[in-house]
Point group: C2
Chain length 289, copies 2
């Protein structure tokens, strides 16, 4: 089964199981709306690709890890789009959750997805219970305090912020969790996989900054120009469009080099290069070609 | 060590460990503000009292369970107070988190506390790893979909709602999690402890409805009259003040009877009766005395 099919079928099965008849219908709908249809599923695909590169001896554990990472990513998008943060009308090319379902349901859907992510890990590790605690600790490190994505978002409420540490927390932390959890889910050491997550997270953030600065709204599926409007730390503001584009290319190269020597290394390199191309705004990849 | 001292020292130690120098300072402050000083710490005290009644053979696990329950309770208060829900200016007798720190930080502090609750369980179960998965599943059941406190709050966004199932989710679910997790943390079966959690949760909700209807704001530490203002299902609206007060007394009696036969039963009965008295608005307990 392809990695992306594994991601979708895992998420489908878990939402069907988690919701059932007793869930308040609009909460169930808003969670489903936040998860499907997905974006590129970059983080869970990366998690599964790393698990496969490490032997994937417990596919149910790897599926749970990938789903947990994606649920937390979706939760962060729903909360980041709220009026008190980005006040975004659209996400993934459709109206944002709070615009469709209300602000209370957007807060609650995000909360429910955070809880579900940890629940999924507990369920998925039934056949390998010794992997549960390290997976939870790794996911929490990617999401919570002191340097997970929640902390990254919180830097926007501080009077001063270092751009690099802000981006490392806000975007990089969940990529690092994704690669490390892929290894842990397969019973391997997470240590050699951190650097790949760091570099990909930084590349993804550079691509996001470029997309925000130069693309049309239709291309990214969300409003553009928000970073400038919100005076948010941004690589394009720091390096200019061409500088940020060069930095993106460097980071992709470093990510490819960071892939440890293993059976699935070539497949992983292809995935990383493919993601990098997909994430580059079309007008830049065209002018560079 | 008394149960309440155990709760406070556990929460102190875990926040000190979780935050560190790298946490954005205002996020760290807002989480601390949401957790300290606490309210009555009813849920974690109940969790520890049940663990003690079950032998408490792994105190670190019980401490983690109690802390996780309280963190999720505090997170739910911070999110429930947001402008899009109760829009509450005060909580526990001081300004609410979003009034002091901003709405973005209130959302993020709640998110960070949810994540921390699961992380704490993973850390606390190091010496009894087989207890981790059932503790996580039980906590998630008390908090998430389909019938945890997040689902309970989400019923307020539905066109029709059954008062009893609404209250069972919104308040009862975390009490049930507290008693069941106390048993699980001590390696005992959670099954005999569900009923105590259910009855106490219902009693607590009845007391909260009475407090909202008849007390002065200073007594409860939060605004009163909100249920009527928000047209929220409420036992006083359904049964009147005297009817709701009789129901509270019945529920406390049923909670006391629901305590399983065990070494610590008498101590638990005293705790339940003490909490019930503390929760009853003074003007009602005076007139009944």
């Amino acid at each position: 089964m392809s990695v992306s099919l594994r991601v979708e079928s895992t998420l489908e099965a878990l939402l069907a199981r988690a919701q059932g008849d007793l869930t308040p219908p609009r909460l169930a709908e808003s969670v489903r709306y936040a998860v499907f249809p997905g974006g590129a599923r970059v983080r869970p695909s990366l998690c599964l690709a790393v698990a496969e590169a490490c032997g994937d001896d417990q596919p149910a554990v790897a599926n749970a890890a990938a789903a947990a990472v994606e649920l937390l990513h979706c939760a962060s998008l729903v909360h980041d789009d709220l009026p008190c943060f980005d006040d975004a009308d659209s996400r993934r090319g459709k109206p944002s959750v709070h615009r469709v379902f209300s602000e209370p349901l957007a807060v609650l859907a995000g909360d429910a997805m955070i809880v579900l992510a940890f629940e999924v890990l507990a369920q998925g590790c039934a056949a390998a219970p010794d992997r549960l605690a390290p997976l939870i600790r790794t996911l929490a490190a990617g999401v919570g305090m002191p340097t997970g994505i929640v902390a990254g978002q919180a830097w926007e409420s501080e009077p001063t912020v270092n751009v690099e540490s802000y981006h490392q927390s806000k975007t990089g932390a969940l990529f690092v969790a994704a690669t490390r959890m892929g290894a842990l889910a397969a019973g391997a050491s997470p240590v050699p996989w951190s650097r790949l997550g760091e570099k990909l997270g930084a590349a993804y953030q550079a691509a996001d900054d470029l997309m925000d600065a130069v693309s049309e709204p239709e291309e990214g599926g969300k409003p553009t120009g928000r970073d400038v409007a919100l005076n948010r730390p941004n690589l394009v503001a720091e390096l200019g469009v061409q500088g940020a584009y060069r930095r993106l290319q460097e980071l992709v190269g470093e990510a490819v080099e960071a892939i440890p020597d293993c059976d699935g290394a070539q497949g992983l390199r292809d995935i990383v290069r493919g993601q990098a191309l997909r994430l580059t705004p079309k007008q830049l990849s065209r002018s560079a070609a």
